[in-house]
Symmetry: C2
Subunit: 389 residues, 2 copies
Amino acid sequence: MSVTAPAGFRASGVIAGLKESGRPDLGLLVADGGASAAGLFTTNAFPAAPVTVSQRHLLSGRAHTVVVNSGQANAATGEAGIEDSLGTCAAVAEAVGGEADDVLVCSTGVIGPRVKMIELTAALPGAAGELAVDGGSRFAQAILTTDTVSKETVVQGEGFAVGGCAKGVGMIAPRLATMLAFLTTDAEVEPAILDAAMRRAVAPVFNGLTVDDCTSTNDTVLLLASGASGVRCEGGSPELAALEAALAEAARDLVHQIQVDAEGATKAVAVQVTGGLGGDAASVARAVASSMLVKTAVFGGDPNPGRILQAVGASGVPIIPERVSIDLAGHRVVTGGVMVSFDEHVCAEALKERDVAIEVDLGLGDEQATAFGCDLGYEYVRINAEYTT
Amino acid sequence: MSVTAPAGFRASGVIAGLKESGRPDLGLLVADGGASAAGLFTTNAFPAAPVTVSQRHLLSGRAHTVVVNSGQANAATGEAGIEDSLGTCAAVAEAVGGEADDVLVCSTGVIGPRVKMIELTAALPGAAGELAVDGGSRFAQAILTTDTVSKETVVQGEGFAVGGCAKGVGMIAPRLATMLAFLTTDAEVEPAILDAAMRRAVAPVFNGLTVDDCTSTNDTVLLLASGASGVRCEGGSPELAALEAALAEAARDLVHQIQVDAEGATKAVAVQVTGGLGGDAASVARAVASSMLVKTAVFGGDPNPGRILQAVGASGVPIIPERVSIDLAGHRVVTGGVMVSFDEHVCAEALKERDVAIEVDLGLGDEQATAFGCDLGYEYVRINAEYTT
């Protein structure tokens, strides 16, 4: 069900012929009564055309329809790309109803090529005709690129629901948002409160995700609230707190699905850093999760604390070595900045699990952050040495 | 000849039994008449014990002997590691002559284990006995870890020479220095002038090197000037300019040797960024050279400009997309921030060369910088998934 689990949404996913693989490549998500909407977007200095257009259309805090194409990212396409994204919104408004300004647009695929507008426009009436309250999974399918599985989530709240889907396998290291992720809820929330809730509950989770420390030009997270449940979330209300908890849970669920389907990944790595000060915890967590030497060690099932220590020390944040301790898969491996002996055999066994935990205590403050990564194996190299041209 | 090419130096390299492979693992470099000395060290917040001890011993600006062991990095070893490094210096002074304070010490290998002091101390008299004016290559051999070849260089100046050797294959992304590199010259230079010359001529080259964006705990570059040529380099003199040019050439030569011997690398990638402002050129160059997606594309011989553009945009520096142009292997692929069509077949052919050039013009100022990297292939994963435990 994913994005159509909350009341007030219909979705569809069809084959428009944008992708050479012949798989579904065009998705529509419609809030028939309109929705409060909030977005998080890439901080890459070359934002793709659909990012620029969606940011513009989000200024009203309201949206009616989300359209997503896979196959072409419509990035580095200049003014022509902007025209294509605006043209897509206009064609969607014509096929679905509503105003072009109330359409949010996302694209994913290869950077450089323009969207195949003729195929896209021709497929829109069919996609509109297939819109259904059980169409969430077909929408989730249509947004994929090299993903091997679709990523969907549903979290039931008290009288409301949160649904979501996402795509993303490579070029993933969001600074403010991530690949493409869509969250819906039938809670009733004013745009400004929805935006704040998203930044509090959703942003830290997606910001903690890194597959290859490469920030895409197209990263987008959209959150639509239809209000159809009648559960109203005022600022500071227990309903809003419950919504934020459900949003965070849905985001964490999608991020974990992305971790285990990351290009070439065999393991999900969670790097939890405690004892930080002034934003340092997140920097250290990201540095450890992004380290190629840590990632290959996890892939090899090699308990190698020196590489974790290296990444902590090279992260650029002020550290007092004597206060640092590190746990790997539940085993204390560094105390006071010094390597301690541990049972390497037992630790190596623990590293065979699909989920690997790395815990770093900086011993400086009470800030904490978690980075969500994966290992680096032969498959990542194969996929990325062969992708495209 | 490497470090013994300039007059005034003797060197040796022996098997002390520190490495399990049974290869040479202990090197001595001696300036019999003493030498002006300068160093560049890792900026990792967990500096290894020998880094701390060498920094202390360099305060005088003079050195007599350099001792290097491979096999154990003596990092994350706490106070015991400091005692080991100080003990090494004392044992070297006893075996070679001179004061312990005039000994610089370097270690490389696995992070965590302490140096095998019994084996090292026992091997020192033999290493001292084998010191020879043609011992440079044996010294260069003794400092290697997973390097497949030794890296040596000699640059002849007007009346003086510069020699050098280096090791380094992984955990290489110096912020201020790099792995282990040793440069010698028989020019006559005061310590303060030597230090400034090193920061101007040598630091930018080693700072531009990245294999895996992982900054080691042990990175050290040492430069010793014996003065034995009688060519005196005063501040602002043409002799000093000639020395700096020779130092830069020697550093560039060693860095290129490290690039092509980097773990799993099949190609050397030079990312030249022009048109920068305020230090941004170096940041962008480093970001492109470190991008896992750029590195795998080069490995696959895939002309993929979108990944280069992604890395430029995600580097965190302020960019005006409309001013950015990118050349890949001599082919213009991006103009004004927009992908342009190019002959992919011809470009793919050019990517088969061992040396690959990526040029980025930011179009903002007149600053320029080059990062020296390599591709990312299956072998990097194999080596680092299997290394250690």
